[in-house]
Homo-oligomer: 348 residues x 4
């Protein structure tokens, strides 16, 4: 089978580097274009990134000799899909240009997320949202993934909402510095410190879950009808967002039913055997002090969401903890899985 | 004026060390006894603690030659007040023995906190709770302070409850390692990690605020009537507990009224000019990314609770952030302030 | 081929856990005994370790149902090799008992290291030291590996000494907390701090390299004849010891010759294709700011020593930096490689 | 007595902020000008710095209403001394302009340090170096302080060199992130990591001590004649540089003599009672595991250099550890002390 030719937009940034890592030896995709800003254009990726590669291990061989180009359709001819890790300041315009040029855009940026016929796709949660793509007027389609904090949360909520209904939830996050990209958070701001504020994050956290868990109606995504409150904090952790949740369900259930729902949860990626799909989208840990980033972050190669500490909530119904890998499941990994899904569904 | 002779129980532990530090050159108190477990008895504090003193700066001169004794009333004759930083495993029994011997006990331990005629005293919040002391049957009286996480939270809630009424609240804590004492949390468990569990902490956090903010009736403290849900987390921070709160008030108010209430809040310690009282029990910071442990922890010498980020909550009414110094305002400093209050009130 | 039956002494400790991890699905060894102290004996390892397993990922399935026994030869019948991660307080006696019972001991403890006919074996550096085993009088033989800090250093020195001669060296270490085992270093001692002292470490660092790089003569190991000075520091890093070295060589060479010597270095494990042998024992990085624990620690699955920053030294000849994984190459991984070597050499 | 009017160049940077802090209520100096780059000019310091102030505690009241100006002599008329915390990219030119305009420059930048008639002044170490000022041709004089790492080291060496002679030394540093200014080191580069490289630092560390400890001859400073080798590392510490030293002395002495030399060491600042002078420039700690940043950094308000672990070195003569506060004693505090010295000496 012939591989789909893909490009990476924002290939030098931290999400871009994850794309480079995750697309090495990929079964479906062949990276043929790496795009970055003007000052990087014309240089070989391997040389350019020598002291900027921030992922453990070496720069993969396969990209070392690729010459970086501009993120412009005319410069990346032949590419059928682009993975976008662009900064929000330019992502909107560039991604639209690609869609107009007939290239599908798998975007990690926030710019198009809240457009009603652009899905915030989470392959296990809402594959049916792909139905709205036909209503996008451009020949190429734009598919986004959610904010990194929200990704693990919505996966944990999906089986609960389907089985027991969801009324409201409180979300309290402790987010890793890698979520802010590179150079991102200055060490003097976060070492031995907590910053109880992340610009724009609580807004995203209070809007995206409803859309992600919503339903398709008349070619648009109608947000689910539950209330949310979010507190977002930056903590001195490298990778991994830990989220405490309090949720109110529509149906009274016991803890076994909930844990059972999580353990049994499988989505389209598992059924289709997509290359990046973990065996289990959710793992629930029984120990009283888990999940922990140090111990649980790489479960399922960083694609499994790890839950723990389910216990009654004195005000709403239940409390629990969600851990997910913010740059894998919360960003590049989710995007790659989304791309695998659309290829498998024949949308390309 | 003659100083009151005091002893410190658990003087070698981390709360005990804070007591030693805070009672240096104190206007009202003279430390005449330092008590610790059998293996320390008979040694000079200065020698004993040479490599165990964990507070920045040297061991204060005034304690260096004090010979450590057992925490037993017969060994500490002449002492009128003891400050207890004992471990919960022995605090109950030892503190009771002191009360029976006619010595007042200012305790930082949890053992007697939930006894109806033992106040969880927070000098700015509930000085009237001292009325229940007369109903304690021992000649010495036991006064506790709350759990370290709760202390700052209740101070922030007091003016809100008085002026606007309080219905319910969600509390999410990010707690420093010093809250677990020494040796406490192993570095391998917390460096670059988060542990979303602290044994017994959520129970305390969901019970103590109602008692602390309750009223005296028939010689007992009747807990206030609001609902609480707590999520407690250990984070890689040395000192300082950061708490995110969502609160529902009885009265609809705007943010200015709330901030005004905090700014105007003064308690008995401020009115009486107690030695350890900060000028302001509460400081509200206007910057969008404060309070932060690194920048705000030592406000008011660690006795001021620093608040920030008041904003509407989509489910309840308001969200905000509380920072307090867990071993000063949350433990030893609060206890010393409590002792100053009872001396000033002539209860001794 | 039938696997060699092995046991792990000190199986619940942090080195013991690494042994458990590294021996999963091992080609040559089958773990049939897990030994620990009395309070653990009789329990299934999986249950016992549920909240004590400190390595990322789950406890391997293969050990979950093994019942923990005492570290006594009579309790571990059938075992041909034991891997010892015992604490030095008991390792001496227990290891001797095993050797007397005819079981070979691969020890990570310091107790027997300085005995003249016990090799400090580093499989790439001094396989010829195995010759002294015949002079050990017990039917089982004791083989140690060096202190974790020294392991990477001696590997980096081996090709230099062979080709250019070694006169003296200064060694400055920055050591991770995992080197102190679990619970090990209290978080209050090391978070945001440096401790410029590790008990006994500098003594070991100044004695073991000479023996490790020595030669066999009359059935004993004669230490190499170079001078050493060591400064050892504990830093707030989880895994990975970084060491700065200044060395004086006997021969004047240029930097290319040295880097060439490192790049060409291969040992017996590489020639024999031992299962745990990395392709390259040494990787030299050209970037000016490497090696770094975050980026380079897992090179060669933690078995490769990563070097960098070779530059002239104004007093001696050369300076460079060594990074090695203290619990893999510096402890359990080195021990497993040593065991593979003796099996391959037919010594068992 | 009338205070000397001073200005701060680079007042918004991290060294500039320290100047602002240390000059609050200063006995000799009155800050009348705060200078920064064009984009800050015209704004009140209090407003401008609201979210950029990185020192614990509030921005001092006295600077809040000062309007920031350009670092140009014509904009800061009336100023007699400027404290420069400018970036090296512009410090050279700006400082020269001030000297030409008759303003004395107390500089923390590296630009003029190696000019033979510009002293690297360390008030306790080399006050006689002020003699070269008369050979500077500008009406205003330029006085620098050394690199932050070197400052504590040279203070520790001064009494040894005077009493016992100094032949050579190895220096190995573990440096805090605040040494790189703000935003400085990205958190993703240093959290849980070590970077064994700091651009230009080893060069400075191998040149400045000899000049600082040199003698004046013919209006120039002649460097002292000892050999040095430096290894510089960035570690995940906020404030405080820890340095391990191995030194060779000209005279054979015992450890008591050395410790005695350190304990007895006093410089001009102590004799003159300068406002920023600590009682002791050096404190030697007897505990085997000190100095430590967490416990010892604020000794003498950050102006005392804390030493420990004196022990024999197997190659040279002695090893020991030096801790100094890099932004106080190593930068702004040293500069203020230098300015106090020149005012006291009547050089202004």
């Amino acid at each position: 089978m012939k591989k789909v030719k893909v490009g990476i937009l924002g290939a030098t940034g931290s999400v871009g580097q994850r794309f480079v890592e995750l697309l090495e030896n990929h079964k479906l995709f062949e990276v043929v274009a790496l795009c970055a800003s003007e000052r990087s254009v014309g240089q070989k990726y391997g040389e350019l990134m020598k002291s900027r590669w921030k992922i453990s291990g070496d720069i993969p061989e396969y990209v070392k000799d690729i010459v970086v180009t501009s993120p412009t359709p005319s410069e990346t001819q032949g590419v059928q899909i682009v993975f976008s890790g662009l900064d929000a300041s330019i992502a909107g315009e560039v991604e639209t240009a690609y869609a107009q040029a007939g290239v599908h855009v798998i975007s990690n940026s926030k710019n198009h997320r809240m457009v009603p016929n652009v899905p915030i796709l989470s392959a296990e949660v809402n594959p049916e949202h792909l139905d709205v793509l036909q209503y996008q007027k451009t020949p190429g389609k734009i598919i986004t993934n959610s904010n990194c904090t929200i990704m693990g949360v919505t996966i944990s909520l999906k089986p609960l909402m389907d089985l027991f209904g969801l009324e409201s939830l409180f979300l309290f996050s402790m987010q890793a510095v890698s979520g802010a990209g590179y150079p991102g958070v200055p060490s003097m701001d976060i070492m031995g410190n907590i910053v109880p504020f992340i610009g724009g994050e609580e807004d995203k956290a209070e809007m995206e879950p409803q859309k992600c868990l919503g339903r398709v109606e008349n070619g648009q995504i109608v947000p689910a009808d539950f209330k949310m409150s979010a507190h977002c904090n930056r903590v001195p952790i490298f990778d991994g967002h830990t989220v405490c949740l309090s949720v109110k369900l529509k149906k009274k259930v016991d803890s076994k039913e909930i844990i059972e729902a999580w353990k049994n949860f499988r989505g389209e990626p598992q059924k289709l055997g997509l290359p990046s799909a973990p065996a289990n989208p959710i793992v629930y840990r029984e120990e009283q002090d888990r999940p922990q980033p140090r111990l649980d972050l790489m479960t399922g190669n960083g694609m499994t969401v790890v839950l723990g500490r389910l216990r009654p909530d004195p005000i709403l119904d239940w409390k629990y903890v969600v851990l997910s890998h913010n740059t894998v499941r919360g960003a590049a990994g989710a995007a790659v899985l989304n791309a695998e899904l659309i290829v498998n569904k024949g949308l390309i």
